[in-house]
Amino acid sequence: MASALTVLRRLYLSIYNWLVFIGWFQVLFLALKALKESGHEHVYNAVEKPLLLAQSAAVMEILHGLIGLVRSPVSSTLPQIGSRLYLTWGILWSFPEIRTHILVTSLVISWAITEIIRYSFFGMKEAFGFAPSWHLWLSTFLVLYPTGISSEVGLIYFALPYIKASEKYCFRMPNKWNFSFDYFYAAILALGIYVPGSPHLYHYMLGQRKRALSKSKKE
């Protein structure tokens, strides 16, 4: 069924997935290189540009879901991308003091490996119509989710003193709309959401994996 629109869609998605794949590949490469040559304190500086680019590009995926270009429900992509953007821009980019922490290394490596697998898989599907062993790759999340999520939670926690001291992104009273926003308390709330959110997400992925494994057994 090679209607012009289908071809265009596949072309666009192939290019999108492979481009972002290259971005994350760069992130992993530069991270490991910096780790070996200079130590964990320098990992962020080495990966900053491709990391900001590749992670921000993921916003496109919300758009793709909304206009129906891909089948993923917006309700599951939104929290995932939201937490990624929060860590990338709201913590790492906003508070330089946290960038030298060792958890940045574990975070960046966990994210990069996960995304390399994900984008190459979707890139192959769109470009070639098939991709090998999805259920095997799904199993990597069993390790990468705990390491990634622990790094995220840890970084937010260790950044708290810097957040409080800087007063960044805060909106104070008095004002005529009787509104205030405190980024420090918002960060604590974010940590709170991780408590029920992480097991929920992990459980969801376990279900996905079980389904994929049973499907491939039947084939």
């Binding site: 009273m173 008095p174 004002n175 709309w177 009787n178 509104f179």
Partner: protein
């Protein structure tokens, strides 16, 4: 009469079934199930007639007042009933009482007690008149709600799943505290006098209209609870299906016009969207039921919930 009880997967739920007198009602059946299983009290039971496999029809729910003969196979004098456990239940009155108690108690705490020193503010505080009127208005609202729960509302289902206690209380208690924090804040900025009077005046009129709407809804239902849907009529119901939600929404708008906080408006938006969902479902249900066929009246053209918008 022999009643066979199966679960939704088809397995026999009570081995050997139950034997009941021919004149027994569904309520008697529920009692018998409870006595036998000891765990599933009647409000936890959902009893339906079996649906042929593959059928898309919604199963017929047994009415507790009807007699078993109304559902059974006449010639063979037996009946098969599908059982589903609805999980632990709580009565609506209990649920509503606790979810409304939170805002009733938490909001005045922010007004009367020096809580803001725990947020780092000093003890000095100027109390503006609008803040005082707001605490009276707010407490009147939730006292009204609690009173209506016990003396006005007639519930179509007696109970609600127990888990709703946590969800509903979180919603009311958290939003109540969130709004109370800002309206009673030491750095609160009041609006002009005229705006405040318009807000509270309008809000009060809506609250009283809302009470009247609830009384009308109560009288729509028969006192013995034999229920069934009626076309609502009288007062605002002549022009809008869910006039009770309408007045509730506009009542909160009045409160927000008078107190002007982002927190209050956020609550208004969330509450409005929840009520709009309910209103759309109710309006749809009534239109489907009152379609004008077979002697049934046709549901008149009306606003759903928020004239002039929806």
């Amino acid at each position: 009469m022999k009643v066979t009880l199966v679960s939704r997967s088809g397995r026999e739920f009570i081995n050997g079934g139950l034997e009941l007198p021919d004149s027994a009602t569904v309520a008697d059946l529920q009692e018998a199930i409870y006595k036998r299983t000891k765990k599933f009290y009647p409000s936890r039971q959902r009893l339906t007639l079996p649906v042929p496999p593959g059928s898309k029809e919604r199963p017929v729910v047994l009415n507790y007042k009807k007699s078993l003969k109304d559902y059974s196979d006449e010639k063979q004098n037996k009946l098969t009933v599908v059982f589903k456990d609805l999980g632990p239940q709580v009565s609506y009155s209990t649920l509503f009482f606790f979810e409304y108690l939170g805002p009733l108690i938490l909001y005045p705490i922010f007004y009367y007690f020096p809580v803001y020193k725990f947020f780092g503010y000093g003890e000095d505080r100027v109390i503006h008149p609008v803040q005082t009127y707001a605490v009276y208005y707010w407490c009147f609202h939730y006292l009204k709600r609690i009173t209506e729960t016990f003396f006005v509302h007639r519930f179509s289902h007696a109970t609600s799943p127990f888990s709703n206690v946590f969800r509903n209380c979180a919603y009311y208690w958290l939003f109540g505290s969130y709004i109370a924090y800002y309206v009673n804040h030491p750095l609160y900025t009041p609006v002009g006098d005229l705006q405040m009077k318009i807000g509270f005046g309008f809000g009060l009129v809506c609250q009283l209209s809302n009470l009247y709407c609830h009384i009308i809804l109560k009288n729509l239902r028969n006192p013995d609870g034999s229920g069934g849907y009626q076309i609502p009529h009288g007062f605002l119901f002549n022009i809008v299906t869910c006039a009770n939600y309408t007045t509730e929404i506009y009542q909160w708008l009045g409160f927000n016009i008078a107190t002007q906080t982002v927190a209050g408006y956020v609550f208004l938006v969330v509450a409005t969207s929840i009520m709009t969902n309910w209103a759309l479902a109710k309006h749809r249900r009534l239109k489907k039921l009152f379609d004008g066929n077979e002697g049934r009246p046709k549901y008149p053209r009306r606003w759903v919930i928020l004239p002039p918008f929806l």
